[in-house]
């Protein structure tokens, strides 16, 4: 097993493509996406019955080597600052190596 940093990102579904682009620029190769989720944050309730895409969130999980984290955050932070959304970083072990 191998130590990695796990990132969990929750953003507007409509801005997910931009986030993926930023992550890939930061060197991310793998990720998992859960679409069409709801939530509440600083910008109020996001719950559009899903046909109002503007009120829908997506949840993205990805991992990176600890030393790559800073580079990724540099790419990611301006996006979240501009358009809202959250990101949690935590420690995990990656099973396969």
């Amino acid at each position: 097993m191998q130590a990695v940093k796990k990132l969990e990102i929750i953003v507007d579904s409509l801005r997910l493509k931009q986030v993926i682009r930023a992550l890939e620029e930061g060197g991310i190769k793998g990720y998992t996406i859960i679409d069409d989720i709801r939530g509440k944050g600083e910008r109020g309730i996001q719950d559009g019955g899903s046909f109002m895409e503007a009120l829908e969130n997506s949840y993205l999980i990805t991992t990176c080597p600890p030393e790559a984290l800073e580079q990724i955050i540099i790419k990611l932070r301006p996006l979240l600052e501009e358009g809202g959304g959250v990101c949690f970083v935590s420690d995990a072990m990656w099973l396969m190596d």
């Binding site: 409509l14 801005r15 109020g44 019955g49 899903s50 046909f51 109002m52 503007a54 809202g84």
Partner: protein
């Protein structure tokens, strides 16, 4: 008197009663909810059906200058509404929020539009099929105005780090779907109409009931979210449809539309978008509070229009067209 129109409207159209059912269920704190994947499908279905229908109708009408003028008037109307609403809304809101609100009112609510068509049909009142095509293109000018306003604001605040993603703004799924279906209806014409009739027409009213059930739930949720907004915003959402309807009726008279087309034109003016425009603004003005504009257009203006507005506007049109 409008009150008769209203009761007629309610007791004959199951769709509106299902809207009320959803609304009441939500107030009763019920767990009733159309699954999201399905309400998204219903929305796709409605856009596809109405766009396709509009295209078929358009293919049956010969081109005329009267049609062209109606299109141009609708575009002009949309631009004017977006601009004046922006000027009003920016008084008490962030500029970004004002843009989102303005573009929403400059555009149209597809479901309000559909409710108008079935209202006219239930009264046996004539209207032209190309009015559906008018509705389908009317989403664009309001979004364009929104984007232009957003660029102006950014220039003013020298806050121009990201380029405007034009393509993404206009390739919004609702727009692609309604305009694409319009084209497909126009190309396949009566052959296509016959092939798709059982799907796009026969079960349409039933699908609409389900969608309005969900809308009722969402309106109730939006209303309770509104409680935190100020009084001036509430009243805006009541006043704007009335002002815009008046402009719509006036323009319809100028264009010499028949009564059915006039009601449709008026509803284009009076209704506000809560799907396509918010999605486009989410990308064009990311800092805007989109939830706010949706609360106004969906939470207040939408139920106002489908329950009171449509019969009221038609009552007025009947007065003036005598």
């Amino acid at each position: 008197m409008p009150i008769d129109f209203l009761i007629e409207n309610l007791s004959k159209t199951p769709a509106i009663l299902f809207f009320i059912l959803g609304f009441v269920a939500s107030l009763l704190n019920s767990d009733l909810k159309i699954p999201p994947a399905f309400s998204k499908f219903l929305s796709i279905y409605l856009l596809l059906s109405i766009g396709f229908h509009g295209g078929v109708e358009l293919s049956k009408n010969h081109f005329s200058f009267h049609i062209l003028f109606t299109f141009l008037a609708a575009i002009l109307l949309s631009v004017i509404i977006t601009l004046y609403v922006f000027l009003i809304a920016k008084q008490k809101n962030k500029k970004e929020d004002a843009i989102a609100i303005a573009a929403s009112y400059g555009s149209v609510s597809v479901v309000t539009f559909i409710a108008t068509l079935s209202y006219l049909k239930s009264l046996g009142e004539d209207f032209h099929g190309y009015m559906i095509a008018v509705m389908a293109v009317i989403e664009l000018p309001a979004i364009l105005m929104g984007v232009l306003l957003a660029r102006k604001i950014n220039k003013d605040s020298k806050n121009q780090k990201n380029k405007m993603p034009w393509l993404e703004v206009f390739s919004n799924s609702s727009i692609i779907l309604i305009i694409g279906s319009l084209l497909i209806g126009w190309i396949t014409s009566s052959a296509g109409e016959e092939a798709l009739k059982p799907f796009t027409q026969d079960i349409f009213k039933g699908m609409l009931c389900l969608f309005l059930l969900e809308m009722g739930i969402l309106v109730a949720e939006r209303l309770s979210a509104l409680t935190k907004a100020g009084f001036s915003l509430y009243s805006l959402a009541f006043i704007l449809p009335i002002i815009n309807a008046s402009i719509g009726i006036f323009l319809s008279k100028l264009l010499e539309l028949n009564k059915g087309d006039a009601l449709i034109f008026t509803v284009l003016a009076a209704s506000a978008s809560y799907v396509a425009v918010p999605a486009a603004m989410r990308i064009a003005v990311p800092r805007a509070n989109i939830g706010l504009s949706v609360s106004l257009s969906l939470g207040i203006t939408f139920p106002f229009n489908i329950i009171f507005g449509i019969p009221l506007y038609f009552y007025l049109i009947n007065l003036f067209w005598k």
